[in-house]
Amino acid sequence: MKKYATVGKREVNVDGFKKVLGTAKYIEDIYLPNMLHGKLFRSKLPHAKILKIDIEKAKRLPGVKAVVTADDAPKKRFYWLLSDQTVFAQEKVRYIGQPVAAVAATDLNIAEEAISLIEVEYEELPAVFSAKEAMQPGAPIIHEELKSYKTMVDGVIRYENVCTHIKIEQGDIEDGFKQADHIFENEFETQAAYVGYLEPHGVLANYEPDGKITVWANTQTPFATRWELADIFEIPMSKIRVIAPCIGGGFGGKTYMYLEPYGVLLSKISGKPVRIILDREEDIIDGRYRHPCNMKVKTGVKKDGAITARQFNLIYDAGAFACEGPGITRYGAVYCPGPYRTPNLKVDSYCVYTNKVPFSAYRGYGVPQSVFAGESQLDIIAKELGIDPLELRLKNAVKEGDLQPVLEHKMEGVAYMDTLNLVRKASNWGEKLAKNQGRGLASMIYTCGGFSSSATVKVNEDGSVILLTGATDIGQGSNTVLSQIVAEELGIELKNVFIVSADTETTPFDVGTFGDTCTHDAGNAVRLAAKDAKNQLLEHVSEMLEANVEDLIVEDGRIYVKGSPDKAKSIAEISLERHYFEGGPVVGRGTFLEKAPPQFRLVQGNTFPPSFSPSTFASQVAEVEVDPRTGKVSILNFYGAHDCGQPINIMNVEGQIEGAAAQGIGYALTEEIYFDKGKILNSDLLNYKMPTSVDIPNIVPMVPENYYPGGPFGAKGVGEPGLIPAAPAIANAIFDAVGVRITSLPITPEKILKALKAKNKEEG
């Protein structure tokens, strides 16, 4: 185990001070003089032609400075994965809550009143609310021009209401089932789940008279947002600046451009800065969160539990627009077989339009759904065969050097089996529990990289450093982790690294914080920048000290000759000399986009993410108690072992596992957005039940010792996996406790009581 100065330590969050003092600035804390308040007018129908929009009364209200509709806005369709969106609804609305107009006024109350004065005449169209119905012939077509929409990822199969169909075939599925001693077929269902960050969406846009646009927004992807704004408004990217301030949680729900075009448009027309902050109800009605999914799984096994074939049919309900749906459909398909050798595999994964709020990215990106199905079924199989569920997984487990089960590249730094052994030990797996108590296990494989990032490291005259990175801290602590990587590489104290992040004008490009990629991709970029700066210092000092670069040691802010620690120069001395006397200031550059290895399976002719990404693994065990009279499930203990390579900040890694597991527990037991013909019934935090401090047990996070050679100091990622195995682990624990198998989420007391009743009836 290598010894590091800061990597692997429990370093305090570099933004911690301002967050405990209340001085951290989030979007709603930022204002400009003469700022106006913006509000969106939204459709009340799920599917309708827009016949007439009357904004005259709204315009005349004193205090209103701009009222805009599709007529004033860019018409271009956008969204990187599938360009099916427009700024405002054009010609027709496709979901309740879709923006049709927007208002900017001197006061928020006036803006709200103006919204109520806008009148729209519609012609209602037949609507469809379930993905299965939307796939039937004769279903109302939601996007008539689907085939004409641009996509960034070629080869997408799309037709009628199916905006993406991913097909994966490996081996010979028919032969695989023939080889099986037993075949299992099960169906599962999961719900729409809200992201639930505590800070709603917001934007502040300032369109200046000379055409320069500055946008502050709590977006996870400032650069993608800038790109999209430039494209639809048809202005050069250099005229648009997007800054992400402190963000109050993202988890995927704040991915991509969202409110920014409305802010920009209202600011352009009113001539003043405009701020739009969604209230909680709006954030739920028009939020972006987890796709509901229907899953059919068929698995063939030998009598000793070896998997011979798996077949998945996944139907993701996209809502009215694709958003991250095409990516989610792909990830759900690629990671559903789990961390097991799967010789024969067939997956059909669909993303289907319905007239509901568009669903999009949320921690796990399609995989919590498909893994709920895959991992629940593995336990069904274990029970039937009389094999311990943990042993069944060990039997089929992938190990170091194996090929990734679907993408078929050789895997390095694999510690999956270690995660199983850690939870086995921690949970006293196999030991008897009390009546109505049970233990359940689930595992997963995921990815943690594959996108591009770049960074600059400036060494100040006093040897302290400024790190510029496009990577966005959404609360997960990347500012701290990236600073640690630079401090470690340069051999200086963490407190002497100051980070500037997520500003498209001053920080170098980073694709955005999503997909668990930040530590690996941005981490490698900042490490390369620090290395470059270090090399410049080394080159310079090797002359001063009359030594070869290879004979120099960098440590504690000094560079000295190996074996002669007194023959040294401090980084400060070297930097000062470079600034004023010779060589020029030391500025380190790093850019990173991993090259895909030669053997790398393409899914439908392309890869997503664009580049190769390392594999991460996890196993979780839930210990539950079920009250058979009320159906209530209490989680007694929860264990999560996560292979993330070398943790850069162990406190942050624990925090990610604990926080994600809590979200997974909510997803498993209490969270659901209820729809009635496209209308959301529970658009508030009282009726959308997220776990509180009394609902979550002491989660035990564990990390096996591992080192991934391609990651910065051996690190992989850990942000998303914490959520992925939670629901099946809990479903499996419930079965272990009271013998009922619930195949739909959330596992409510009603479902348990119903199942218990049926079970008792059956058993006479």
Partner: protein
């Protein structure tokens, strides 16, 4: 029609003109520019807007500014004294109890008031005391640890 009201916030007097229907949360954030208190739901369901009024935690989104007159209001900005962090603030930082930080002001005020009434709580009591403050990032574990550690010091 605006009324002039006097509020005492973090031991400082403020005289502001507000409409009678404005909540304490709105006035703190928009009239007095103390933006440390957060608006998470504006409906009393998340706890992010928690401030102390006469030492008791209340939801400022459900409190009229007018009704807070004549009372001692403490916001997150008033917790650190003379540039020194409160032990709770220090504990939150050291335990990694802060991720996005949006729930942090409310959590700190709720737990500060709680520890005044119950200086040596059990873990269960701590969990119950903050059950009105939602956190979506941390899973609560490190927040509970931070509060327990502070109580043990």
């Amino acid at each position: 029609m605006k009324e002039i009201i006097k509020l005492i916030i973090n031991d400082e007097p403020y005289e502001v003109a507000v409409e009678p229907h404005r909540t304490l949360l709105e006035v703190l954030r928009e009239t007095i520019d103390l933006t440390g208190t957060k608006k998470g739901c504006d409906l009393g369901s998340c706890g992010a807007c928690t401030v102390l009024v006469d030492g008791k935690p209340i939801l400022s989104c459900l409190t009229l500014a007018l009704d807070a007159q004549g009372k001692k209001i403490t916001t997150i900005e008033g917790v650190a004294k003379d540039g020194e962090l409160d032990p709770l603030q220090r504990s939150f930082m050291e335990h990694g109890a802060i991720q996005c930080g949006f729930c942090t002001p409310g959590m700190i005020l709720t737990s500060k008031a709680f520890l005044e009434t119950n200086p040596h709580p059990t873990e269960e009591e701590v969990r119950k005391s903050i059950s009105g403050n939602l956190c979506r990032c941390t899973g609560y574990k490190k927040i509970v640890e931070a509060i327990l550690t502070t109580s043990q010091r």
